[in-house]
């Protein structure tokens, strides 16, 4: 579709982002989770995966799912610049998602992380993959981070030594809600990389094939009795 002139004015200029090279992570269940970049045409499957969680009040799933859905829609409709989404995929099923974007070549804006499968460190692996993309592949200098859950924030502050830039508020404030912001610097990322970033490359053909088509989860541990209609 060729956008008309008004639509063209509405779309943000975008940076040319390199692709995230897919990898696989062995989970404790011995399942292989493929972490791969999502394409704009896959937004439908991603929304299907995320939407049911909007009804889950615990652990801020409702807020994070709603925000992530909005980000995915913004990406789909060309209303958010430089967004990338990574999916954790187990046997073709979406196990978790992360979204993030680049403000410019140097600064990253981490958006959201959702772990659908629980108890296998899916969320930790996907957040680490997001930071891996920002620092190792997109060569950024720092990433601004917010975490809706105070427990999640504290965990990241300890594991990644996030810097608290709350004192510089409102000069530094995250795009999501304008709340006080924490920052992951390249130096602190590199110190945490070995412990936090997992996975093997290149992806073998069978695994790549298994994750080629994204399937929304059939069940959600967060929603007992859920059945996809």
């Amino acid at each position: 579709m060729i956008p008309d002139e008004l639509e063209k004015k509405n779309r943000p200029p975008e940076l040319d982002l390199c692709a995230y090279p897919s990898k696989s992570i062995i989970l404790a269940s011995e399942e292989r989770m493929v972490v791969r970049q999502c394409e704009r045409k896959e937004v439908g499957a991603l929304l299907e995966a995320v939407f049911p969680l909007i009804q889950v009040k615990t652990h801020y799933y409702d807020l994070v799912a709603a925000r992530m859905a909005a980000e995915l829609l913004g990406w789909y409709h060309y209303r958010i610049a430089n967004l990338f989404a990574l999916a954790g995929v187990i046997d073709g099923e979406i196990a978790g998602l992360v979204t993030s974007r680049l403000v410019d070549e140097k600064l990253g804006m981490s958006l959201h992380t959702i772990a659908i499968r629980r108890g296998l460190r899916v969320g930790a692996h996907l957040f680490a993959a997001k930071m891996e993309h920002h620092f190792d592949f997109l060569k950024q200098e720092e990433v601004w981070v917010i975490v809706e859950s105070p427990v999640g924030l504290k965990r990241l502050m300890i594991e990644y030594a996030l810097l608290d830039r709350a004192a510089e508020y409102p000069a530094i404030r995250h795009e999501s809600g304008g709340v006080p912001t924490h920052v992951l610097t390249r130096e602190n990322y590199e110190a945490a990389r070995e412990r936090m970033v997992a996975g093997a490359r290149p992806l073998d053909a069978a695994l790549a094939e298994s994750a080629a088509i994204l399937r929304p989860p059939a069940a959600y541990p967060q929603i007992p009795g859920y059945t996809r209609i």
Binding site: M157, I158, E159, A161
Partner: protein, 141 residues
């Protein structure tokens, strides 16, 4: 002021921080941490005796200096109040055979290695700093 009723102003000095072993006044057995009764000769310790100006019945002996590493761990899941990524802990044995637990600050620890016990702040809280053992390879200040 002088005489028997003189006030003891020593409490107002800069406090020195040590960890002490207590010595049973009857049989001489050393204890760390403290107990209220000697398990050898059953001599009791009066916990009120060291309050105010009353002399303690059980002699105190500074427990510091050389010791040997018995076991160690690096812990990543720390409790509330500790915001560092990890801390190392260990059990050591002193030459007098007393053992103690505490913080380990030594690269590449190995069971059996010699260490030095110092007393430093190990838990910072407003008006409630806790001084305790830090075990390291070298003396430091």
């Amino acid at each position: 002021m002088s005489g028997e009723n003189a006030i003891n102003f020593e409490h107002y000095g800069e406090p020195e921080h040590h960890v002490y072993a207590l010595i049973c006044p009857k049989c001489g057995k050393r204890f760390y941490p403290s107990v209220l009764i000697c398990d050898v000769c059953h001599t009791r310790r009066n916990p009120f005796a060291s309050a105010g100006n009353a002399p303690p019945e059980w002699e105190k002996e500074i427990l510091e200096g050389p010791c040997t590493l018995l076991s160690w761990t690096r812990v990543f899941a720390l409790p509330e109040g500790f915001t560092v990524k990890s801390l190392d802990f260990c059990i050591v044995e002193f030459p007098n055979k007393l053992r103690a637990s505490g913080r380990l600050e030594a690269e590449n620890p190995e069971i059996g290695m010699p260490l030095i016990a110092h007393v430093e702040i190990v838990n910072e809280k407003v008006n409630m700093d806790h001084y305790g053992f830090i075990f390291s390879r070298e003396n430091y200040n």
